[in-house]
Amino acid sequence: MRIGVFICHCGSNIGGTVDCAKVAEIARGFPDVVYADDPMYTCAEPGQAAIEAAIHEHRLDGVVVASCTPRMHEPTFRRTVERAGLNRYMFEMANIREHVSWIGRDKEANTNKAAELVRLAVEKLRNNKPLAAKSFDVTKKVLVIGGGVAGIQAALDCADGGVPVILVEREATIGGKMAKLDKTFPTVDCSACILGPKMVDVAQHPNITLYAYSEVEDISGYVGNFTVKIRKRATYVDWSKCTGCGACTEKCPSKKTPDAFNEFTGPTTAITIAFPQAIPKKAVINAAHCRQFVKGKCGVCAKICPTGAISYDMQDEIVTEEVGSIVAATGYDLMDWTVYEEYGGGRYPDVITSLQYERIMSASGPTGGHIVRPSDGREPQKVVFIQCVGSRDRSVGRPYCSGFCCMYTAKQAVLTKDHIPNSQSYVFYMDIRAPGKMYDEFTRRAVEEYGTEYIRGRVSSIYPDGNGQYVVMGVDTLLGEPVEIRADLVVLAVGIEASKGSPQLAEKLRISYDHYGFFMESHVKLKPVETNTAGVFLAGVCQGAKDIPASVAQGSAAAAKVLALFARDKLESDPQIAQVDIRRCVNCGKCIRCCPFGAIKEVEIRGEGKAQVIETVCQGCGLCTATCPQGAIQLSHATDNQILAEVNALCQC
């Protein structure tokens, strides 16, 4: 080979503690190195031009740049060598800035270390092979999982961009958590009024196919070519006939059915339409509470239904869809706050969650928008809000901040005063997190205009005083004293967690998730929408706590990613993937077993079983390479020989 080496000074960033000229001189002694230089700024335009010139002048067929981290400029320099006619994989980097000059003060040691790292890169490069990407077709159709506001936004944007959308929603109606809210901060405008039109757009958009009351059963394939199985759960109502007239819900005799949409703040009927603006506005039978199912006789709804839509023997149905990309927008659930025994563990009727409070305040809720205590229907005078219940609390395994509770708590305090002018609200908080536009002003209004008492501290316990009130034992750390409030109603700002089933969905999507079930983005800062599985994007709270504007923005961002992906007719696969040497392969299947992506399959080649890598699915982790005992499957660009070359360069005594 003919290798050129460039030792970057990076101004004084590297040159300050590394003798770059010396490193270049040492590098000239390395095998196959025919040229070495130490430019001031390699990544700058003249630096790149110098590399190109050197490639031509010295007929280089491989280039090593020793500079900053490859995580920063590897793509840059790959393009550089490509411009000069080299294959982009005939390039290696040595990180002598983050890993050398910035962390060590001893110039001799640094220079020696830099030279060794260059040696590693040279040895690796000597084992590199040109790699070429392959192209394949794309199915230009997207699956959006979750019909909350983020999913709705992603679906609408994709649909408007001309891409057919499959929207899958687990509940009977789309709208998600936002549909349950009474008002939204900081404008205090009606949630249903701003979300409703978007929901209607979903229903009416010619490019959107909505599967409500459905779940994703299985996902296979890879970017551009996913196959998705969707389970349409039995609603026992033929939606093609149901007009959403609601006659059945009026006549249903099972009137004490728990109402999940209303967060169990009041009862509903066994056949029900979640709320007046539901999309699709179709009835669903809750079989666990329907007399027809429980007792085997009733049939009232079937009798009353004017279109004969009731179908008690309906079964789940599996439909299969082919899509090229997937947006996960599965949102969140509240954590199970009943672990807080000191707050009554759910035994006190007037200690409720903020989402329950939303339903109580909502005009479409069980009390028609009148704020009353669940225990006795009285209007509360003293309302205590407790923040961070299940947020920033390691003792219950929830160390993270749920992000939007500070704001909705302020909103709820404001609304409480609006509803009950002579009421007094108290908010126990640790820190007020209100960094959004108009947010801090809003919390100040809650204090200054609505007289909400903000008390800095947590609440240690709540207990009924036996007189119909609740003793709230808290602290005012600013005062430095314990405080005690007798409250009529206590509203807990319960922390969020990833929606139920997120880890299972993540496994199906082959994306990572954190300890709490939130999906992992590809890069915290720079790839907040992408995942590590190509073609799968994230929107909304499923990726981490965020409020409505941020969820909507991420929904649009995900849609933009989908549209960008679909802007090309063919996709290119990353050639840094595993390859099977079929002569060496004995078809033991160990690689197939451990591949996290299902990217290896067994095929028959001349009568013998062999492993084969599905090039578009392989993500290039190399687990198979480390697993295969006979070295028959090698990860291109990180083969055993390439890594061994590096090990041998370091350890040869």
């Binding site: 981290t69 490859p70 995580r71 920063m72 990180n95 983050e98 890993h99 050398v100 910035w102 962390i103 060590g104 001893d106 001799e108 040691a109 640094n110 020696n112 060794e116 590693l120 082959r510 990572s512 954190d514 992992m520 915290v524 590590n532 002569r583 060496r584 004995v586 033991c588 299947g589 160990k590 077993r593 451990c594 996290p596 992506f597 982790c621 190399g622 687990l623 390479t625 480390a626 697993t627 005992p629 006979q630 070295g631 028959a632 090698q634 990860l635 990180a638 083969t639 055993d640 020989n641 890594i643 061994l644 590096e646 090990v647 041998n648 360069a649 370091l650 350890c651 040869q652 005594c653």
Partner: protein, 482 residues
């Protein structure tokens, strides 16, 4: 390149590109000062790190090796680090048997944002290695030769009485034979004191089948070569574990294999038998009694009582009955509960790290790299494509140094992690009697201790531990980097 004398030691790091390499970058950006010894090799994922890279480095001059990946659950590739965690932990528990201080190898998890943690990890690890000093080299050790103590007690009866049921077994084989390509068993070898594998194709072949303490070979070694063909196999308990392990790994198919079994009463340690017999020109007679055999060679009688002369593995054997069989004959055998540290391993356990290195130095010197150990191993299915004699990948050279030889044994042992059933064929096959089984036994022990007492080859549906993982490992714990 040589280390900076007097300043640095050779410390090699394998960092995953996504988390730990980024964490090291973050530390750099934060100008978090660190010792300069570490040389980082960037790999896509900690799951890419073949434990053999680490052994290779440690045998070839590294004073310390550090692997770092994404925190469990945060793997860029979803699960690579879960596999890595198991493999690296097994390696860590294996190294001391080679005489390598396991403190010289560490693995951890550092995310891309944890610059400070990375600084801490590098600093603590480098300090640790400097405290340990330059790693002792295998070549510098003064050879130390010691022998395992073979005075052992057994968990189950040892003897030769079960032959009574052999005829019944033969009938069963004959009945099944027409459906099968062949049935693998044992026949007499060049004399009455040697038994060799038998491939029964006709009823007359079946009549050659013998059962007894000379049936040392593990016939399961031949099964993978019959993959796809209907074949029968006669097994001892230990052989059946190899069959089960092959099934576990889909190397053979259950429907293809018919297993015939008799309860095993132990097999002779032919190495010790031959030591006793010495040089002789002819075996005159071999007679059996309940407790052992008497071999008359050149007119001289030698009695071998099974309780004294069984193979080392037989004493701690808990599966004299086949763990899986289609046809069984003979009387069930009672096994006492308990476990035994195998004699070879007990020998290594009794040594210091320095002694162990010296031990292997002494033992490996006489290895000729004939690879009888490998080829006799029923789990060595790579066979013609073993990495030990390949140029791509080029793990080993043809040099006859003790280091290369020991490295091969390490390859074998690590490739057997969670798979070795302890049949001992590797050691039995070794013409120069190197107690290489100890390395496999240590791996098996580590796997057992880490994964709920897992033993390879007991359950055909069990997932071999290194081909699986748990989100939270019960017995693998994150180390403290304080």
């Amino acid at each position: 390149m040589p280390v900076l004398k007097g300043k640095e030691l050779r410390i090699v790091g394998f960092l995953c590109n996504w988390c730990s390499y980024g964490g090291a970058d973050t530390a750099g950006v934060a100008r978090a000062g660190q010792p300069t010894d570490l040389r980082i090799i960037r790999v896509p994922c900690s799951g890419r790190v073949d434990p053999l890279f680490i052994v290779k480095a440690l045998l070839n001059g590294a004073d310390g090796v550090l692997v770092s990946g994404c925190h469990p659950r945060d793997c860029h590739y979803a699960a690579g680090n879960f596999y890595a965690r198991r493999r690296l932990e097994v390696l860590k528990q294996f190294l001391p048997v080679l005489g390598i201080d396991d403190r010289r190898f560490e693995y951890t998890w550092v995310s891309a944002s944890e610059g400070q943690r990375w600084q801490q990890v590098v600093t603590v690890f480098t300090e640790r290695i400097h405290k340990l000093g330059p790693a002792p080299r295998l070549e510098d050790a003064e050879p130390l030769l010691k022998m395992a103590d073979m005075a052992l007690t057994s968990l189950r009866p040892l003897g030769t009485g079960q032959t009574a049921a052999l005829d019944q077994l033969k009938e069963a084989i004959k009945a099944k034979l027409p459906e099968l390509e062949c049935v693998i068993g044992w026949q007499q070898g060049y004399d009455g004191a040697h038994t060799v594998p038998l491939f029964m194709k006709t009823p007359e072949d079946v009549d050659k089948l013998i059962w007894g303490p000379f049936n040392v070979n593990n016939p399961a070694v031949y099964l993978p070569s019959f993959k796809g063909k209907k074949v029968g196999i006669v097994v001892k308990g230990c052989d059946s574990r190899s069959v089960v392990e092959l099934l576990q790994e889909n190397l053979i198919r259950r429907e293809d294999v018919t297993i015939f079994a008799l309860p095993c009463e132990g097999t002779l340690d032919m190495a010790r038998v031959n030591q006793t017999l010495g040089r002789y020109s002819k075996i005159d007679k071999v007679t059996y009694d309940e407790a052992g055999v008497t071999i008359t060679a050149d007119g001289k009688e030698h009695r071998f009582c099974m309780t004294d002369c069984a193979q080392g593995k037989c004493y701690g054997c808990t599966t004299p009955m086949a763990v899986l069989a289609d046809m069984r004959a003979g009387q069930p055998v009672k096994v006492e509960p308990g476990s035994r540290t195998p004699p070879e391993l007990a020998l290594l356990d009794s040594m210091s790290l320095e002694e162990r290195m010296a031990f292997w130095r002494g033992q490996m010197e006489r290895c000729l790299r004939c690879y009888a150990c490998r080829n006799a191993c029923p789990m060595c299915v790579c066979r013609d494509f073993c990495v030990s004699d390949s140029r791509d990948p080029h793990w080993m050279s043809q040099e006859d140094s003790t280091r290369e030889k020991l490295f091969f044994q390490t390859i074998h042992a690590l490739h057997l992690a969670g798979r070795c059933t302890g049949c001992g064929e590797c050691q039995r096959a070794c013409p120069v009697g190197i107690p290489i089984l100890a390395l496999r036994q240590q791996i098996a022990r580590a796997v057992g201790q880490l994964f709920d007492d897992y033993k390879a080859g007991l359950n055909p549906t069990a997932v071999p531990p290194l081909l699986g993982y748990e989100l939270e490992e019960k017995n693998i714990h994150e180390r403290d980097w304080k």
